[in-house]
């Protein structure tokens, strides 16, 4: 019985709609309820993860028992199960953080939108249908717009407005892409599209893929459509910023990679890969250079996050198994590191009333553990050995070398250099100034210690995780296995 995996979608959806009822009973119970649901989600995700990795077969769930392509199916393969676990775990940690960080009403709306955001991202990576992907993308987007505006101050409204306009353009582009694919193949199921990929006209496929990439690039924070990201990261509540960086972006990037690699048999495929590399490169360059001149630490880390996303896109654009593996590894590492960084920076901003550079002066004296967490996160993002991001950067470097894209090597090294400049500036401000002693929250301290431990553990023993990553990468790359695993019904025309 593996059908319980559908609870990954069902549980947050049902729980979200129970929040208004719970509000009538007790307002105090809302935040603990949110924590409990995300904890249950984590347990379910862990069970699904264990099932998929021990049997080696993906879990296919057919909605209503109809076989695809007539019915809609969920495809919870190696990648989806790994990422569903990361999504649920980060959500759980941030739900705990929310208990402290969210002090303004309406908390019931916050809990509802939080659950819907988690649901949308899980759905995006689990679905096997391109229109279903659109629906989940919109669920994620709409709850993200509302959560960005949650603080209701001037900055939050402005950031949310920018996000809505760009998101609206993106979703229209995506739908035009869907219309082109449906018009030429007459199917919406991803496995079916992959099977019939050779029938599609190469030019139409190229345009459709480009439109789909541009549609997903809004959430995926790729260059021309990522102008909303730094504003939203700065203005959104601190736990939500973490969720954006840790998994909302990753779900969109995965969707891009999945769609692109399923259509790998069209002739114009190489152009699409080049498009991904160009978008990724521009994202890295602009993200890193903008990060250099920020006065707000949260905004600086937001730009750094955008740059890392660019590196992931470049990895997907290499078109090799090694490139995908490296990108997936970077996605996982980046999710962990940015969860730690945004948690620590958000906590500081909460305690000291802002995230400007002056607030971090002498943080090592005031909040030693938090300052240590930020230091570990910063050092890890730069790519120093013994920390996890080093391994994913080196894998990406090697993959680029094997694929013959030498400029990508230069890009990664250059990006690391720029990162070193602004992160070391932050570390310097934190540790080399005096200030008075302060208090630290124990629960958040435990979460930070846990994340630091994971970062160092992966940094010292990367091989244990690398095994899982390779399985997940093969899940994206091997489209023959993807088609084989979905029990397609032959539709008579």
């Amino acid at each position: 019985m593996t059908q319980y995996a559908s609870l990954l979608i069902a549980l947050p959806l049902i729980s979200a709609f129970f929040v208004p009822i719970l509000k009538k009973i007790s307002k105090k119970a809302i935040m603990p309820y949110l924590t409990l649901i995300t904890l249950i989600q984590t347990i379910i995700a862990a069970l699904v993860f264990r099932d998929v990795y021990t049997t080696g077969n993906p879990i296919i769930i057919m909605a209503g028992g109809f076989r695809p392509p007539v019915g809609i199916n969920l495809y919870i393969g190696h990648f989806a199960s790994l990422f569903a676990l990361i999504i649920a775990l980060v959500s759980f940690l941030m739900a705990v953080f929310s208990m402290r960080a969210i002090n303004i009403e309406p908390k019931d709306k916050y809990a509802m939108l939080f659950l819907l955001l988690m649901l949308g991202a899980t759905g995006m990576i689990a679905t096997g249908d391109i229109f279903n992907l659109f629906v989940f993308m919109e669920i994620t987007a709409i709850s993200a717009y509302a959560l960005t505006a949650y603080n209701k101050d001037a900055h939050a409204s402005e950031a949310s407005m920018k996000y809505i306009i760009l998101g609206g353009i993106g979703s229209s582009f995506f739908l035009v892409g869907v219309a082109l694919i449906y018009g030429s193949l007459g199917t919406l199921n991803l496995a079916d599209i992959a099977q019939k990929a050779s029938l599609i006209d190469p030019t139409v496929a190229q345009v459709a893929l480009a439109l789909l990439i541009f549609g997903l690039a809004v959430e995926g924070e790729l260059f021309p459509l990522n102008a909303w990201a730094p504003d939203a990261y700065q203005a959104a509540p601190h736990p939500i910023t973490t969720l954006f960086s840790a998994f909302v972006v990753k779900a969109s990037l995965y969707a891009i990679a999945r769609i692109v690699y399923l259509l790998s048999s069209v002739e114009t495929w190489q152009n699409i890969l080049n498009l991904l590399i160009i978008l990724g490169t521009l994202t890295v360059v602009i993200g890193e250079l903008s990060a250099l001149r920020q006065a707000n630490v949260k905004r600086m880390i937001a730009y750094s996050s955008i740059a890392q996303v660019g590196l992931i896109a470049v990895g997907f654009g290499l078109g090799t198994q090694a490139g995908i593996d490296a990108s997936v590894f970077h996605m996982v590492n980046h999710a962990i590191v940015k969860a730690l960084l945004f948690l620590a920076v958000g906590y500081v901003a909460l305690e000291l009333g802002g995230a400007e550079f002056e607030k971090f002066r002498g943080l090592g004296k005031r909040m030693p553990l938090t300052a240590f967490a930020i230091t570990v996160g910063a050092v890890s993002v730069i790519g120093i050995p013994l920390f996890n991001v080093f391994w994913s950067k080196i894998k990406l470097l090697l993959a680029a070398l094997v694929a013959g894209k030498t400029f990508v090597v230069a890009l990664i090294l250059g990006a690391s250099l720029v990162e070193a400049v602004y992160y070391i500036k932050l570390i310097h401000v934190m540790w080399f100034f005096e200030s008075e002693k302060g208090e630290e929250n124990i629960v958040l301290g435990i979460i930070m210690t846990l994340l630091i431990a994971i970062i160092v553990l992966i940094g010292i023993y990367p091989d244990s995780l690398w095994h899982f990553i390779q399985e997940a990468g093969r899940d994206i790359f091997d489209k023959a296995a993807y088609i084989k695993n979905v029990p397609l019904l032959e539709v008579v025309k």
């Binding site: 709409i142 809505i164 219309a179 919406l188 203005a235 001149r293």
Partner: protein, 116 residues
């Protein structure tokens, strides 16, 4: 131009008109109207993809046989897309009210609290 060509032409025109409004207008509400026009264009495009000449609505009846109905799937998609569009527009307008209350203007050139 065949009759189906008119639909495609109309749909693409609507998308481009919407995109033009979003990119050039300075008033926030006009931008949101542009967004709605763009969504309408996309919906029309989806419907045209499933259009069959001289066919009837895909509702089970004595007249409708498998060979003379239009494709029902794009219609289901458009129904979903319309609902999503309504939700986005409603949220966007309420955020626009918030923006107006904070900045006392809807001119995007003047709404510039976030820089850097």
């Amino acid at each position: 131009m065949t009759s189906i060509g008119v639909y495609y032409f109309g749909a693409i025109s609507l998308i481009l008109i919407g995109l033009y409004a979003i990119l050039t207008k300075r008033n926030l509400l006009k931008i949101l109207v542009g967004l709605s026009i763009m969504e309408t264009g996309v919906n029309l495009l989806l419907i045209s993809v499933g259009y069959v000449r001289n066919a009837t609505a895909p509702i089970l009846s004595d007249y409708a046989t498998p060979t003379n109905v239009v494709d029902p799937i794009p219609q289901a998609l458009v129904l979903t897309a319309i609902v999503i569009g309504v939700a986005t527009t409603a949220l966007a307008l309420s955020v626009a009210i918030n923006v107006y209350e904070r900045y006392n203007t809807l001119d995007i050139e003047k709404i510039r609290g976030l820089r850097g």
